[in-house]
Structure formats: structure tokens, C-alpha cells
């Protein structure tokens, strides 16, 4: 029932490519690791757009999943567990497959052109931030979820937020690890996503 259109996949690939090329055109160091005082307006706009776009894509997936989990969808299953596993697996697979597709395209581009592909960290970060936002929304209120969303956009504008900077550094450094460590890190990300996703789905289904 969960649908992801071919357009979304195409958009994802195009954006992924644009991020990498755009980044390379504007600077050598990834923008989010640069000293804020040295960031130009153009770079700030690039940063904002690049951070917002994955978010919009993720929201798109999430909304699509929500649509696929209406009451009509629930009651056609044998039991709640089946709904939960199915919807949970669907959402996890969609995000993980797409994230991996982005990684692969970025690795391919890096090898072909020598361009940095560290945007992966930012995308993964957004996946988890978004899930956190949805969980907060589910348990508390839509206002708190909205506050988190606004915070995330604000965060995109002012990268040097002292508390959050280490997190970005952490994600930014992922791609500098060797293959083995990268796989371990990706497994951790997947695990975190799966855990958060599970909590979220459980709340939604019950």
C-alpha cells in the first residue's frame, strides 16, 4: 500500500547529484563544517536549500505512508501486528533503500569526479530528526512537532549552534571512515532509524 513514485526516486537522484556538484562549485570544505564567518550569502542559501530539500522529501515519504495507513488499510489486515510489521517494514525499507541509493550515487560521483559526498551525513541526520519530530508530535502536540520543524530550518540557517554542532560534525565525519567502519556506522543509523520508527508506528497503530 505504501507507494513511492518513480518521480520521487528520480528527484532524489537529481537532488543528490545537485547537492554534490553545487557543494563542489562553491567550496572545498563541506559548508556545514565551515566557520560561519566565512560563509557567503550564496553558500548560506545553498545550505538552506540543501537542508530543506531532503526534509521535504522525507515529509513526502512520511505523508505517503500515513495515507497508506488509513483506517481502510488497517481493517483489511488479519491483526495489528501484521499492520505494524508491514507498515514499519515498508517505511524502513523505503528510507533505507533511498538513503543507500543516495550513498551509492555519491560514491560513484566521488570516484568519477573526486567530489566530496559527505552530504550523506546530513541526510541521515534529517531522517532521524524528522522521526523524532513525529514521535514528539504523537506523544505531545502538533505545536511541539512544528517547533522542532522550525528549529530544524533555523538550524539550517545558523549552523554554528553550539549544542548541535558536534552532532553535525559526527555525521559529517562518517564518510571519512573506512569501508568497514562506514558499514558499522550505517548499521547503527539503520538501527536507530528502525528503533525510532518502531516506537512511532506502535504509537500510530495502537
Amino acid at each position: 500500500m505504501v507507494q513511492i513514485t518513480k518521480y520521487q526516486i528520480v528527484i532524489c537522484f537529481i537532488l543528490s547529484t545537485l547537492f554534490v556538484i553545487g557543494q563542489q562549485l562553491t567550496h572545498e570544505t563541506p559548508i556545514y563544517l565551515m566557520n560561519q564567518s566565512t560563509i557567503t550569502y550564496v553558500q548560506q542559501i545553498a545550505l538552506l536549500v540543501s537542508q530543506l530539500t531532503p526534509f521535504i522529501l522525507i515529509v513526502g515519504w512520511e505523508e505517503r505512508m500515513q495515507t497508506g495507513q488509513g483506517l481502510n488499510y488497517f481493517v483489511r489486515h488479519k491483526n495489528r501486528l501484521q499492520v505494524m510489521i508491514k507498515s514499519y517494514l515498508h517505511s524502513t525499507i523505503i528510507v533505507i533503500v533511498t538513503t543507500f541509493a543516495i550513498i551509492l550515487s555519491q560514491i560513484f560521483l566521488t570516484k568519477q569526479t573526486g567530489i566530496d559526498y559527505r552530504w550523506l551525513g546530513v541526510i541521515c541526520f534529517y531522517v532521524m530528526w524528522h522521526l523524532l519530530q513525529r514521535i514528539v508530535e504523537s506523544y505531545f502536540s502538533s505545536v511541539s512537532g512544528l517547533a522542532m520543524m522550525v528549529g530544524m530550518i533555523g538550524f539550517g540557517l545558523f549552523v554554528k549552534t553550539p549544542i548541535l554542532l558536534p552532532i553535525l560534525f559526527l555525521f559529517g565525519r562518517f564518510s571519512e571512515l573506512n569501508t568497514c567502519k562506514t558499514i558499522i556506522m550505517l548499521m547503527i543509523i539503520t538501527g536507530l532509524y528502525a528503533g525510532l520508527g518502531y516506537i512511532y508506528r506502535k504509537k500510530q497503530v495502537i
Binding site: 500500500m1 488509513g70 488497517f74
Partner: protein
């Protein structure tokens, strides 16, 4: 047959349904009547297995809801929203849903869409539908798998007079087929013309059954 035995539903310490008991027989149409907040929708949700009862039991064809089964095995549902995916056509919506249980054919889908007064040739997204068309689509969604239990909350909302007559005829046909239909409505005409029994709910309790 659906037996509702002394069910109570509490949500956040508030009692929504109080010790409700009733037996719904196959092939009959039951109307639920009551003012806003009387517990009509919650009753439908409980019968659909969407909320668990705090006490009591709902037995659907011998299976206890929430114990042996989570949802009634053959259920058509229209509660609150149309719950159709707005970015797809109605036909695609029904085809997607049909993949879950695999009991309805493409012919069933086409026929049901026609029976609610819509056309399968309409490739427009559901988002582009008028309110009345969405409602007809939602009814088609509830009926296309020929379920044995049909729960409808305000089914004729937003539908024009000609359409209302069409939907009433459709529901009568479904009852003749053997389906148990329970519909909540504020429309007295719907209830009077369609229902074999009208159940009055007030403050979560059945106060009359005529």
C-alpha cells in the same frame, strides 16, 4: 452475527460507552441515532476493532474481537474521513486496497464504482473530486469486497438527493445479499427508510431500540 456483550469503553478516564449490549443479525440494517458525542462513532470504532473495549466482549461470528481476532474478518468501513489516497484515482485506490485481501476482482471494483454513481474511466485523482464524489468513492471502498459487516458513519453526507436515493438502494441490496449494515446518521429519513432497527444512543448508553 455480532454479539456485543456489556462493553464499556473508557478513554483517558472518560467513559464513552457504558455497558452496551446488543445483537446484530445478518442481513439487517441497523441505524445508530444520537446527538453529537453520544458515542455513535466510538461504537462503530469498537465494532471495527479500531479501539479495544475496556470491559465486555464483542463476538463476531463466534470469534472474540481483541482476543481471537483483531478486526472483523470481512468488514467494509466508512468512518469519519474517506481515507482514500488523494493522489490516486478511485480505481487505483480500490485496486491497491484489493491487493491486501485479494478477494475482489477488477470487475468487482468496476461494478461497485458504477453502483455508487461514479465511472471507472475517471482518471482524475481523488483530490480533484468534489466532496460528494469523495463520499461516493468512500462508500465504494467499503462495499467493493462484498463484506459481511458494513459500518458506515454518516454515509450520505455531502451527497445530492439523487445520489442519496442511489446509495439507499445500494445499501438495501447489500442487506439482501446478507450483509449486516450498521449506520450512524443524523439523517432521520435515511434511518427511517433504511433501518430495520433504530438504536438510540445517549451518553454512551443504548436508551431505546425500535
Amino acid at each position: 452475527m455480532i454479539e456485543v456483550k456489556n462493553i464499556t469503553v473508557k478513554i483517558k478516564k472518560e467513559t464513552i460507552l457504558k455497558d452496551v449490549s446488543y445483537i446484530f443479525e445478518a442481513g439487517k440494517i441497523y441505524g445508530l441515532r444520537g446527538r453529537n458525542g453520544a458515542g455513535k462513532t466510538m461504537f462503530l470504532r469498537a465494532l471495527a476493532g479500531l479501539i479495544r473495549v475496556s470491559s465486555g466482549r464483542i463476538v463476531v461470528d463466534g470469534e472474540v474481537l481483541g482476543e481471537n481476532i483483531d478486526f472483523p474478518p470481512s468488514l467494509g468501513l466508512l468512518i469519519e474521513n474517506n481515507n482514500l489516497a488523494p493522489e490516486f484515482s478511485l480505481t487505483k485506490n480500490l485496486k491497491l486496497l484489493s491487493q491486501i485481501k485479494k478477494v475482489a476482482t477488477d470487475d468487482d471494483i468496476e461494478q461497485t464504482i458504477a453502483r455508487v454513481g461514479l465511472t471507472t474511466n475517471d482518471s482524475r485523482k481523488v483530490a480533484k473530486f468534489s466532496l460528494g464524489m469523495k463520499q461516493r468513492g468512500a462508500i465504494a471502498q467499503a462495499l467493493f469486497e462484498k463484506p459481511s459487516l458494513i459500518l458506515l458513519d454518516e454515509p450520505t453526507n455531502a451527497i445530492d438527493q439523487k445520489g442519496v436515493i442511489q446509495i439507499r438502494e445500494l445499501l438495501a441490496e447489500e442487506a439482501q445479499r446478507g450483509a449486516t449494515i450498521i449506520l450512524a446518521s443524523h439523517n432521520l429519513e435515511d434511518l427511517t427508510l433504511l433501518a430495520d432497527k433504530i438504536i438510540d444512543l445517549s451518553d454512551g448508553e443504548i436508551v431505546s431500540d425500535v
